[in-house]
Structures are given as structure tokens and as C-alpha cells.
């Protein structure tokens, strides 16, 4: 649709997938998904439960190889690149169900990204992690994971991803299970993250967040793209509404 627009637009695309498919022994989780993430953009990914949103992120970050199709990052085909290398070249993510490293403190959790994705020394990593924690509004960073609140754990996951100095950050249902005020705080942080030049993919069920944050939205259903465009358009698409748009916050 946008190809005829201008060749320059292609340089603006930092991450894209071409006909991305992923099968699990007969179960089709993703099929022929085309996606483009432009630099500095916040792209929303919505769809009913089981639509394949998390699988999409799992394939993009390298947890599973694609069954078909390609992933292009900064112009290069990374479909076969191992997951830990993708973390190092700037693709980061958070998880739908939080996965804190329970034997480390908050700061140490955040440091792991800086240490291994960026190869920083310990002192550098401590500084970077502290800065990121400050940015996310996390204080008292030497607490063990067992003493953290749910919100702090969520923020810690984002911080951990940020400390890898990503160019693309994928957030999987960050707003799940937090209060409205906390969601507002998170949304501000996400905007600040984008303002630092990071491109974001945001999976959400909370529609007011999608409406407020995203530039564009992709709707997945049964593993395929149902619609694409600004939220204001997509939310009126009868096919999307039919496929269960999700709850309003």
C-alpha cells in the first residue's frame, strides 16, 4: 500500500516480516504475517486470545525459528540468527508472565542485559543499570526479587530489556494486572522510551492504551493479519469488531 509512496520510506523500516509463518506439529500459530515497524514508531499488536501475538514475538526474538517467511532487521535477513545474538544487535522484549531472575537483586537483574548484550564491564554495567532504573522510577534497587511488588517486577523487566541498549523493544501485555494510575505511569514511560529513538511493538488488550500510545496497529486473528492501520480506523473495521476486539479499560 505504501510502496508507491516513496523509496525513502523503506529506509525508515527497522524491522519487518515477510510472509512469516510458524507451525507447531500441525497447529498453525502464525501464517503469512507481513509486518513493518518503522523507526521511532509505536506499533500496536492486538487480537483475541490465542491469535498468535506472543508467538509472533517469540519468533521475532528467535525463540522459535520461522516455519516459512523471513525476518528483516535493518535491511538484513536475520531469520536464522540465534536468539542471543538478536539480543545483542538491538532486539529486546519483555514477557507476558514476568520472569524475574529470583536469585539476583533488582539491580543485578537489570545488569544482566548490560553485561552480556552490550559486553560492558561490571562497573559500566552497574552505572547503566542504575541509570535505567532511575529512568523507570525504580528505587531501592538492592532488594531481592522476593521483596518486590508486581509493578516493580514489571518495571524491572522493561529496565532489563532497556539495559541491552535496544533499537527495537517489544512489550508483551505490560498493562495486564496493574491499576489505571499505574498504567498511566507506564504509558508515560513508554512515550519517553520512544523519544529516545527506540521503536516499539506493544501487545495489549487494554484498548485505551492502544488508542493513546500507538501510531499504527496490526490485528492478528488465528495467526493471520486481519487488518492494519491507525487504531481509529481499525477499531471501526467490522471484521475486527467481529473477531472480538477486546475489552475497553
Amino acid at each position: 500500500m505504501f510502496e508507491g509512496f516513496s523509496i525513502n520510506m523503506q529506509d525508515n523500516v527497522i524491522l519487518k516480516t515477510e510472509k512469516l509463518s510458524r507451525h507447531f506439529w500441525g497447529l498453525v500459530a502464525l501464517t503469512q504475517v507481513d509486518m513493518e515497524l518503522k523507526r521511532g514508531e509505536i506499533l500496536g499488536i492486538i487480537g483475541p486470545n490465542g491469535a498468535g501475538k506472543t508467538t509472533f514475538i517469540n519468533v521475532l526474538t528467535g525463540l522459535f525459528p520461522p516455519t516459512e517467511g523471513r525476518i528483516i532487521y535493518e535491511g538484513k535477513d536475520i531469520s536464522a540468527l540465534p536468539a542471543h545474538i538478536r539480543s545483542r544487535i538491538g532486539i529486546a522484549r519483555t514477557f507476558q508472565i514476568s520472569r524475574p531472575l529470583v536469585d539476583l537483586t533488582l539491580l543485578e537483574n537489570v545488569m544482566t542485559g548490560a553485561l552480556f548484550a552490550r559486553g560492558l564491564t561490571r562497573l559500566q554495567a552497574i552505572k547503566k543499570a542504575s541509570d535505567v532504573c532511575g529512568f523507570m522510577g525504580l528505587h531501592d534497587v538492592d532488594k531481592p526479587v522476593s521483596k518486590l511488588t508486581a509493578l516493580e517486577i514489571k518495571k524491572m523487566e522493561v529496565a532489563r530489556a532497556l539495559s541491552t541498549d535496544p533499537k527495537v523493544l517489544m512489550l508483551d501485555e505490560l498493562m495486564a494486572g496493574i491499576s489505571s494510575d499505574e498504567a498511566d505511569e507506564m504509558m508515560d514511560l513508554i512515550k519517553k522510551i520512544r523519544n529516545q529513538g527506540i521503536s516499539l511493538c506493544v501487545i495489549e488488550h487494554v484498548m485505551r492504551v492502544i488508542a493513546a500510545l500507538t501510531d499504527r496497529v496490526i490485528v492478528l486473528d488465528w495467526g493471520r493479519t486481519l487488518a492494519e492501520g491507525p487504531y481509529s480506523e481499525v477499531s471501526h473495521n467490522p471484521m475486527v469488531i467481529k473477531a472480538y476486539l477486546g475489552e475497553d479499560a
Binding site: H84, L101, D103, E108, M111, T112, R122
Partner: protein, 306 residues
């Protein structure tokens, strides 16, 4: 607060180094045997911190011993070089095993290591007698240092020191972040840019080399090697029980465990010359059921409640 710890460690170190000057031969001998088990226990724990359970210490221990002895018999170089050679050979073998098994980890790795010692024993027993001495093994002309207990002690102590230093490096450097991430959550580790396979290979090779080092020293000290003695399950079991009892995932846990079980073992052997291994089995079961964090865990709990 940190100062007194450093003083204590320095004092212990001095005491340990000077021990041979005021200790009798039998006690010294007992102590360096305990030290060997201690080194094995610590090295076992180092791999455990990365989430991998090895039942095969005896395998690497025996390989180190055989490599050292064979070099000694065929070339008659300085025994210390043979010991180093034994360590290196154990490392090489672990490289091969790691390449084959560390991609599927967890219980697969654990069970393979369980078979390891037995496999090596069968292989060595079946190889031609001229190579490895078959079932009877090889006997050296002389024990290292002509059997001088003092120098033997210092040799073992150096090996233990290397092990402790490496263990502390694992605990204080960035290695700690890598192995804890791998142990706690491999997916998160990968997201943080950690190459799990590479790290596990490196750690497995390092710990296996240490175990081979101990095994090589052991054969030079006793002047002989044979398939049943040097691949004995003892060398897999006791360090494991020691680390478990003392407290896994720390340097000092295996140290404490080795001292407690080592000394207790001496008494046990006097009371029950046969089958005292059952006590070790019971210890493993009881620790897992009631004290999974070992003695160190107990101490931590008690000091925290204050």
C-alpha cells in the same frame, strides 16, 4: 565489617600453609585426603551453580589419573608435569562430552554423567593391556616426592587453593550473573544476550579439568592406577554429599561439608568398615528433604532471624 573476614581468611591461610610443620604424619595425611574431596566438592558445586547436575566426577577423576600415570610410565618426566597433563586430558575429554550432551541439558546431562564413570571404566578395562594395564592397572616406580608427606600436602593444598580461587571468581565476577541467569531462567538468559551453550561448555571444561587435576595428583601420590579404584563411585558420591550437606551454590558450603563429612567419615570407617556408604545416601536424602540449603543455609536463616 569486611576487614575481619579478610583477617580470618589470611589467618586460616597461614595456618593451613604451615600445618606440616607441627602436625603428625597420620593427621596430615587425613587432612590432605579431605582437601582432595573438598576440591572435588567445590568443583562439583561450580557446575551446579549453572544449573547442571553431574554424577560423573569419578569419570574425570579417573581420566586425569590414567592420563598422568600413562605419561609417567611412557616418558618418566617430572611428575608435576604429568599431573598437569592429566588435568588437560580430563579437560579435553569433557570438551567432547560437552559438545555431545550440553545442547540437551538438565536430566539428560545428569544421566549421561551417571553413566560416564562406568563407561570409562569399561573402555579402559577393555583396551589392550599394553596401553592401559587392563584390569590390573599400572603401578608407578615411585610416588611423587618419594612419598614425602609435607610436600604432598603442599601439592594438594595448592590444588585446593586454585579451586577455591576459581570458585570465588565464579561468585564475584560477571560469571556469577551468567550462571545464575542460566540456572534461574534460560529464556531470560538468552534475552540478555547470553550464549548458554558456550558458557556451559566453558564451565564444564573448567570444572572437569579441576577434577582431573585432583585425580592426577591422587595417582601420583599413591603411585598406581586401576580401573576399579580410580573410577570408583566414591569420587562422585562423597563430594556430592559434602556439597549438599555444607550448602550448595557457595564456596564455603562444600568446604564445611567436606570437613564435617571427612572427619565423620574417618570415624565411620572405624565403626563400619563395610557399607558405611549407606550413611552418605541417608545424608543425601535427609538433606534434600529437610535441609535443602545445607548447613550454610541453616546458618543464614539463624543469623537473619536476629
Amino acid at each position: 565489617m569486611k576487614n575481619w573476614k579478610a583477617w580470618v581468611i589470611a589467618a586460616l591461610f597461614l595456618a593451613a600453609v604451615s600445618l606440616p610443620f607441627y602436625t603428625g604424619t597420620y593427621l596430615l595425611h587425613t587432612i590432605y585426603i579431605i582437601m582432595m574431596y573438598m576440591a572435588l566438592a567445590i568443583s562439583w558445586d561450580m557446575l551446579l551453580r549453572a544449573g547442571q547436575l553431574s554424577f560423573g566426577i569419578a569419570g574425570l577423576f579417573g581420566i586425569g589419573g590414567y592420563a598422568a600415570t600413562m605419561l609417567q610410565v611412557f616418558t618418566n618426566i617430572n611428575p608435576l608435569i604429568c599431573i598437569l597433563f592429566g588435568a588437560i586430558m580430563a579437560g579435553l575429554i569433557s570438551l567432547l562430552i560437552g559438545l555431545a550432551t550440553l545442547r540437551l541439558r538438565g536430566m539428560y546431562f545428569a544421566i549421561i554423567t551417571l553413566a560416564m564413570a562406568e563407561i570409562f571404566r569399561v573402555i579402559i578395562r577393555n583396551l589392550p593391556d599394553t596401553w592401559t594395564g587392563g584390569a590390573m592397572g599400572i603401578v608407578l616406580n615411585n610416588a611423587i616426592f618419594n612419598g614425602d608427606v609435607k610436600q604432598t600436602y603442599w601439592l594438594v593444598f595448592s590444588i585446593l587453593l586454585i579451586t577455591i580461587v576459581l570458585s570465588e571468581v565464579f561468585n564475584k565476577s560477571r560469571i556469577r550473573f551468567a550462571i545464575t541467569s542460566i540456572r534461574n531462567d534460560e529464556i531470560v538468559a538468552v534475552s540478555s544476550g547470553i550464549d548458554i551453550f558456550k558458557w556451559l561448555m566453558v564451565i564444564f571444561i573448567i570444572t572437569s579439568t579441576l577434577q582431573g587435576l585432583v585425580g592426577a595428583a591422587y595417582t601420583e601420590i599413591y603411585g598406581s592406577v586401576n580401573p576399579d579404584a580410580n573410577f570408583s563411585a566414591h569420587y562422585s558420591l562423597l563430594p556430592l554429599a559434602m556439597a549438599l550437606l555444607g550448602g550448595m551454590r557457595s564456596t564455603w558450603g562444600p568446604v564445611i561439608g567436606a570437613i564435617v563429612l571427612g572427619l565423620a567419615g574417618e570415624y565411620l570407617k572405624l565403626l563400619m568398615p563395610y557399607g558405611y556408604l549407606i550413611i552418605y545416601g541417608l545424608i543425601i536424602i535427609l538433606v534434600i528433604l529437610f535441609l535443602p540449603d545445607g548447613i550454610m543455609g541453616l546458618i543464614k536463616k539463624l543469623t537473619q532471624k536476629k
